[in-house]
């Protein structure tokens, strides 16, 4: 190793390998992604955010929300559940059989064998896919996050730290705009013991004019402004809330399959 050039070239190749692997390859593989089809429906996913929600992502970025919140649901496994949809011609035999079988928390093979046994005596069954994992049992989401969830985000705010809960599916879990506004202005007014810093700078406390503003927050007394004043959200606060409400990662996709509850209940009557 006497020659600087040879070190340079060898280092160039070694370092360039990771550039090809982690920059070029993902850009080629994921960079051309388009909307995908939602499983078992004619819908495409994801849909563009509304104007306010798109601006809200910029409020989220500017205030560094990603320093404390992630937007990625983890999934560690998948379980199967066999659900009886029709007893068929021999209901007694089916119900006797079912009482002897384990129908939830199955592996693929167990689900298939239970399926075969019940079908053999004339029962009709459906197999449901239930993603498992700590995030899903916390209720933060229904399935793992995948690349399609972020197709229209720029910048993509995945985050790396959970000082607060995950927000990937926040719009489904917390779908109330006035709750979000109260939570941003005074987190402890809606979540006791919340350690989230209040974002009062996104709101304006002003004297009530001729009539109270329809936007004014309905705060509990210990957080309320002095009498004669009202707290109204600035446009940024409304945009941020629109963004939070637009966070949905709850449709089944090919790469993250699961059985949504509503499809079996909302299926049209025969």
């Amino acid at each position: 190793m006497k020659n600087g050039i040879s070190v340079f070239i060898a280092a160039f190749i070694a370092l360039g390998a990771s550039w090809c692997g982690f920059v070029l390859a993902p850009a080629l593989q994921l960079g051309t992604a388009k909307q995908t089809a939602v499983l078992n429906s004619g819908d495409t996913y994801p849909v563009q955010r509304t104007g306010d929600a798109t601006l809200g992502l910029q409020v989220y970025r500017a205030n560094g929300c990603a320093a404390c919140h992630t937007e990625q649901i983890q999934q560690t496994g998948i379980a199967f559940e066999v659900v009886l949809t029709g007893a068929g011609k021999n209901p007694d035999a089916v119900s006797n059989l079912i009482s002897t079988l384990k129908l939830t928390g199955l592996t693929k093979e167990e689900a298939d064998s239970a399926n075969d046994k019940i079908t053999a005596v004339g029962g009709k069954v459906e197999t449901h896919l239930i993603p498992t994992g700590a995030d899903i049992s916390r209720g933060w989401g229904v399935r793992r996050s995948v690349a399609a969830d972020y197709l229209y985000d720029s910048p993509v705010q995945l985050g790396s730290l959970r000082a607060g809960p995950d927000l990937a599916d926040a719009g489904t879990r917390l779908n109330n705009a006035s709750w979000h506004l109260l939570h941003l202005y005074a987190p402890q007014s809606v979540v006791k013991n919340s350690a989230m810093p209040p974002f009062r700078f996104l709101f304006e406390t002003r004297k009530i004019g001729d009539a109270p503003s329809p936007d004014a927050l309905n705060l509990p007394s210990e957080f309320a402004p002095p009498a004669g004043y009202e707290v109204v959200p600035k446009p940024e606060a409304k945009q941020l809330v629109a963004y939070l409400l637009s966070l949905h990662a709850d449709v089944p996709l090919y790469e993250a399959p699961y059985t949504p509850v509503q499809i079996s209940t909302n299926a049209p009557a025969k």
Binding site: I78, P257, K270
Partner: protein, 201 residues
């Protein structure tokens, strides 16, 4: 305190040198063993660069086997979406049809036929001329609305139509649609009800 900051220049003013003792074999062996284990791990968890395989799924085959089967409920849900955007404007979301626009699908003998061949041909070729539905004659045009849909989607929408609004008939498979397409060939032309009756159910 000040003495070591003062004293260091003397021994260390010379540039450092390095000895030339070699790296022992066990370090290389360890590297090779770890590389092998890494390969095994990647084989089990890497999905071999497939863009649709995400953890915890191990491979494209496994993920494929986990997809909800094209069972009745799944196909019906999907068929309804396609029906509402493609067929519902004329035939109605309730399948009852609209006067002077389209005949009903609910209870229609064309839909409730035992075989699916005629039913499959209608969206692929369209209708021209008179057609009798539930003993009422309709004289309208229908374009080949389903010709542009993929086989699976057309099958899903036909399954939805056959199983909805009290029709209570069975599934139409993608293979049925494929067979009909093959029978029509490259030259689709709209048919009248009478022409269609010549075809087997």
């Amino acid at each position: 305190m000040s003495d070591e900051t003062k004293s260091c220049p003397t021994p260390s003013n010379a540039e450092p040198t390095a000895t030339r003792s070699t790296v022992p074999m066990w370090v290389f062996s360890l590297t090779l063993v770890l590389l092998f284990l890494g390969f095994v791990y990647f084989d089990h968890h890497g999905g071999w660069f497939d863009e649709r395989v995400y953890g915890p799924y191990a491979s494209a085959d496994q993920l494929d086997s986990y997809q909800p089967k094209s069972g009745a409920a799944a196909a019906i849900a999907r068929g309804r979406k396609i029906y509402e955007s493609n067929c519902g404007t004329c035939h109605g979301a309730d399948g009852l049809g609209k006067p002077n626009q389209a005949p009903p699908l609910a209870g229609s003998e064309w839909v409730k036929a035992k075989g699916v061949q005629r039913l499959t041909h209608i969206p692929l070729m369209g209708i021209a001329g008179s057609i009798t539905v539930e003993s009422q004659t309709w004289n309208l045009q229908m374009a080949a609305m389903g010709a542009a849909l993929p086989d699976a989607d057309l099958a899903a929408v036909l399954t939805y139509i056959r199983s909805s609004w009290g029709n209570g008939m069975g599934e139409v498979t993608a293979d049925d649609v494929k067979a009909a397409r093959a029978a029509i060939g490259a030259n689709p032309h709209p048919m009248s009800g009478d022409e269609m009756m010549k075809m087997p159910e």
